[in-house]
């Protein structure tokens, strides 16, 4: 089992097996490992960059370029399992330049639900804050502490004052995660909603490799 805390801050090295390397965000590691196991995708190897790069999206593109350079010679092909993730199109441009594929979509919330479905409710759900399985498990390391809520509880209403509900986009059926997500919503003072998505567009994209 890969540690979630490790995925948030350190990432994951490849294990050297498989012809196709996935360079993914640490926030997607467990999901990719599960999909690989369920489908017997032994041709896929996985390496992850630290998930917390998301707090500094200006660093994502450079980190991906570096990882592609580092591993390129060892694999037949490389696929970048990120969405745009707030790089303002720069990650897509870099991937195109390097000749490696990238998952389409703005962020993982959208591709887990399905980019089209997400876009369809974007307008009616502006005041929603989304969590995925990974983010529920890493809520404290990824949201609570980086946003300073542990040190300054008064920041919660300043930051989430315009939000109304927390939507847990669930990749798996897991009662413990459901309960934890409900607790995250309560801590942020938001209404709670759970929506099962499964692996959405991620599964379809990986199946094509």
């Amino acid at each position: 089992m890969i540690s979630d805390a490790g995925l948030t801050e350190a990432g994951l090295p490849p294990d050297g097996r498989g012809r196709v390397l996935l360079i993914a965000c640490g926030a997607l590691a467990q999901e990719i490992v599960a999909l690989k196991a369920a489908n017997g995708w032994d041709h896929l190897d996985l390496t992850c960059l630290p998930a917390n790069l998301h707090l500094w999206p200006e660093k994502i593109t450079a980190a991906v370029i570096e990882a592609v350079g580092k591993h390129r010679r060892d694999y037949d092909s490389i696929h970048v399992v990120y969405a745009d993730c707030g790089t303002g199109g720069q990650l897509a441009e870099a991937c195109a330049r390097l000749g490696v594929a990238l998952i389409p979509g703005p962020h993982c919330y959208a591709f887990f639900e399905g980019n089209d479905r997400f876009a369809a409710h974007a307008e009616s759900e502006i005041t929603a804050f989304y969590l995925t399985d990974f983010l529920v498990r890493q809520f404290d390391a990824f949201v609570w502490r980086p946003m300073g809520f542990d040190r300054h509880p008064s920041l919660v209403p300043m930051m989430f004052g315009n939000y109304e509900k927390l939507v847990y986009l669930a990749q798996t059926e897991d009662a413990a995660l459901d309960a934890k997500a409900a607790d995250c919503a309560a801590r942020l003072g938001l209404r709670y909603e759970r929506r099962f998505t499964g692996y959405g567009d991620l599964a379809a994209e990986l199946a094509r490799l």
Binding site: G86, G88, E123, I126, H152
Partner: protein
């Protein structure tokens, strides 16, 4: 409050107090800032001097350290909140004493986006630089911008977006201004972390501004240029 602290603000001389205010802003101490603003005013400082020398100068340090990755979002938000406390005291006084007027800006986050920390910071620093700022908040459709620009007879339009999915809406607003033949009536400034200069140019904004300090300088320069052109 000062009496819970080692430092008694009222016992510091002006220079020490201003330095202390810079530190307190950095640490996001709202009550200390409010107290110090009142002390300086009581000592006969003009509201404009308190604003620029104590608050804006202190907040500039915070902005630079955020840009350089030394501070992160919560620290910036706390500092901004402390500055807001000081500004609330100064604002009515500034109106009375007639501080310099630089121009009027309408600012808001675009439709679909409710990230507002950066926009609020820009609004505050523009106010600190003597601009009148009308903040129309978050999630603004094009009509909101048009209404506010006309109603307020603004000089500058500022739009903020932090999401890749909402950035393109800035172009919708600018294109609407063009259609109505009023694009050149306004200086259009855009910002938000995922944007860049190229994007600003591509959508037809006058400038993309990386942070609040750049925004203030850009706005001053563009307003001055516009006045010169009108004078010529």
């Amino acid at each position: 409050m000062a009496d819970e602290d080692d430092i008694i603000l009222s016992e510091l001389d002006d220079e020490e107090l201003v330095q202390q205010m810079h530190d307190d802003l950095y640490d996001g101490l709202k009550e200390e800032i409010e107290e110090a603003v009142n002390i300086l005013i009581a000592r006969g400082w003009t509201p404009y001097d308190v604003l620029t020398k104590a608050l804006v100068a202190g907040m500039t340090v915070v902005g630079n350290d955020f840009r350089d990755g030394i501070l992160f979002v919560p620290e910036v938000l706390l500092a901004a909140n402390a500055m807001k406390g000081g500004m609330a005291i100064l604002k009515p006084l500034l109106a009375e004493t007639g501080a310099p007027r630089m121009g009027k800006m309408v600012i808001g986050t675009v439709k679909g986006d409710i990230h507002d920390i950066g926009k609020n910071l820009v609004a505050m620093m523009m106010e600190g630089a003597g601009f009148e700022v009308v903040d129309i908040g978050i999630n603004n459709p094009v009509e909101n911008y048009l209404d506010a620009l006309a109603r307020e007879e603004a000089d500058i339009l500022g739009m903020s977006a932090l999401l890749t999915t909402t950035m393109p809406y800035m172009k919708v607003v600018i294109d609407t201004l063009k259609e109505k033949g009023i694009r050149d009536d306004y200086i259009v400034l855009v910002g938000g972390a995922p944007l860049n200069e190229e994007f600003g140019r591509a959508i037809g904004a006058d400038a993309y501004c990386r942070d609040a300090a750049v925004t203030v300088e850009m706005a001053k320069a563009m307003v001055a240029r516009k006045h010169n052109q009108m004078g010529a």
